[in-house]
Point group: D4
């Protein structure tokens, strides 16, 4: 169970993922060991991830793309989504309500990356009915867990 | 300038943002001081952010929403985008090509959060022509820099 | 609080809203007074409604219409929705995610009812950006709380 | 044939489906036996249903969804519609004019219910070309003949 | 009231609007005077129109266009429709369900006629939100009551 | 070749398809024989049709529907169109530019006619990808060459 | 008037705009003076343009964008189009049938050029209702009359 | 490598593709031989094309059409695009982001050219899911490398 203390730790890590255990401990007025234990348990349980990330607008050789995907109605919607989520270039993926079945966040080579993704990478998955791409020309507060600066 | 060493540091932090300076140093075969200096400079320059983040599927009281926004053509497209990016509940925002002018990532209270966002928060910004929402029912590899577990 | 007994009562009323108190009592093995009290409290609290309803396909002079509505972004989304919900001919109304802001269920005179609704009734509400109508040509399991047989 | 007396009975039952036979009789100035006979005949003929129903906004574990469905043009449009109408989670279904072939009203578990419906329940029906979902975030005057309070 | 005899007369005129009164009379086994009287009454009542018409594909200087129109929601939907129906170039006009409020059939000069219609003729009507044009490249069984061969 | 005299004859027949040969002759100041010959030649060549037609708004048992059709890209676009044009209920059909491949004008039984057309009549034609229907709720200056008053 | 000889000259210039007058003359078996005169007259009349152009895929700092534009219905559709056609970055512009009023071909700085065009350049023109952008990721046989290699 | 001198040459050729070598040389203050060599190398490398072109609005027998194409997701997106680019009537073709996979520029016979292109020419390519056409009714600054004046 995540309690109030966990939430306060996570909030501090949201702002500074590199914060030292002892500084977090001082802020929350508990022992450093407690902080260390709790963070480790949160990380092990998958309830927390601390990740280095870059600003997409500072990576000129890369392109952030949001891709709406419609897939043929089938018994394996979640399995399909998992397969697509594992493809090279897919940062994150959402099963969504509305006009698309899936909205994927892609991190691709500028210019030709999307053609390659659609024509080669995604083409391995069958049952894709149609796609619609949205290129992020400029992003605000977006952080990409990649190192392509 | 970001060099190969910086990129290797960022790659290690992508995977584990809490990695100790000395472990990174050992992996890259340089001194701990070098790693510490480089990480600090990357953070100061805004080229790197290390952030604690949670899995949206583990936060049942919250809802991740992608919101397509069309705004009236005007001289202040970028300024509008900045204003919207600062609104409560907006995680990230993209100026996009295609059918929408803006795609925003929202982190809202489940059920009524989107109504409140559209009817109160976003309604403060004039010039919004229309919106179209996509609720993330399930996400893969998505990490939210918030603490609402 | 709604408990398991309440739910079992509601389930029986789902199937037969006219079921006698004593029959429900016999089915659930409690006293008739208990059933009567519980039903009355559910009704008073607005947690239950028992309503007579007709099959729309048996009312040839009437037309069931689903109407998607987009309204201008404004501070009074919920208030607008309430106003529209009170209009003559509106059976029910939903604030929805996706392509429309509102989906309304309308019960109108066949042929000219929709023209009158759009051109007179709905036209009283300002801020309607666009509408898109879907006429129900045939319905399954739909029950309308009206008496236009 | 439904006559004026039938319609007046139905109107009273619209407002209060639990109204006692003798109260209806008093209101319409006829004998209780006449009311009882007429209501029974209306129910038997399928011209009237009296049903207990709940307010969807009071059932936090459930989600009302409107689902637009396009099905491949085929000789069995009505049969398909009937099959879909019988699926678990489908409250009502309409063959509609316009952009969709079918609009279905779904009552599903909050969060994962729609994924399960699309990926498992609806996936049993072949010939579905595409779907577009609209989640009801808030409903006005909507009553669901279920007991999930 | 239109009776079976009227309908049989109209059916014959559907096929051959120039059919002689006496030939129609012979076909229907009544007197020529009866036919003449009935046709005149149908024409006077507006229940029948007999019109000369041409095949649009034989008029190369003209273009048949179907135009979807969305108009701002307003109290005068029918009046607007009437105004548009009277514009030069409008053959017929329909208030429609679905994505458009109005679908108009236009008969315009090839090439520049549609630009002139949109930019000059229709521009006189205010409250037009958007239009979407469909040019008929080839028509089957379409007859235009004009003389531009 | 259609000349100015032909066009003047057609214009008179546009307004009154039953105009007597001698009246047309008087109006155009030529002999009745010339008028008769020219009209017969225009009719024989398919350059003119004179047809009795009714106002769709006066035929309550019937429904005018405009149907957008997308068909799978194939070598027989024109042949497909011809097949559809010959189906029961199809008044006229257009191969169109834009969002649809075909726009058909349908004259169907009110209420269930469209379901039957889509599910039975049109379902005989393979290669139909999707359809979108627009019901004419009210028409201006539309004349239907049928007799269903 | 453009005659067959003119057309043959233009065809040769299509393939090689730098072809020497005497080579064209030899190919068409007329005198060099005739060729020179005819080309000059074609150029002066605006019936021919000979232009140097580059392959957009070889200009990495630039981006070819097709932009669909909807403009508010107004008396100055053609004037608006002319104004937009004169804007910096607009290569060519088309008044089109269908979903957009205008389709413009833009030649912009990669990455931020489209944001600047929408937010600054196009924003000077009032009456723009909405835009939808299509980025050319790769082009075949497209030649841009610019020099940004 | 394209240098500043090359760019200045191309700029002059943009405006006048027939400019004499010696005039370009004089403008740029270098020898005629240099200009001749550089232009030849640019042409040979495919970095420059000089082409005669006509104004589409002066070719009444022809029609410029922009065609959006969606193709089934497959391993040969680029190959498909190349095949379509080689079809008769295709001037240029773009792999695009957004709602379409491909936007093609077509130069077709007026009236029936598009039907023939869709039903015969394009129908040879399999995997085309849908098309949407936009006819250019009037173009600004558009030059077509064809000779159909």
């Amino acid at each position: 169970m995540t309690d109030e203390m966990d939430r306060r730790i996570i909030t501090l890590l949201n702002q500074d993922g590199r914060a030292a255990y002892k500084d977090i401990a001082a802020r929350l007025d508990v022992s450093e060991g407690t902080i260390r234990n709790r963070i480790n348990r949160l990380l092990e349980d998958g309830r927390l991830r601390v990740m280095g990330a870059i600003d997409p607008d500072l990576a000129p050789s890369k392109q952030l793309v949001l891709l709406g995907i419609r897939i043929a109605c089938s018994k394996d919607l979640s399995k399909k989504a998992e397969e697509i989520a594992r493809l090279d270039g897919v940062l994150a993926l959402h099963l969504t309500t509305g006009r698309f079945d899936i909205l994927a966040e892609l991190w691709l080579d500028a210019k030709v990356g999307l053609i390659q993704f659609l024509g080669q990478t995604l083409a391995q998955i069958d049952g894709i009915v149609s796609t619609e791409s949205f290129l992020a020309m400029k992003s605000f507060n977006k952080w990409i867990p990649q190192s392509d600066l």
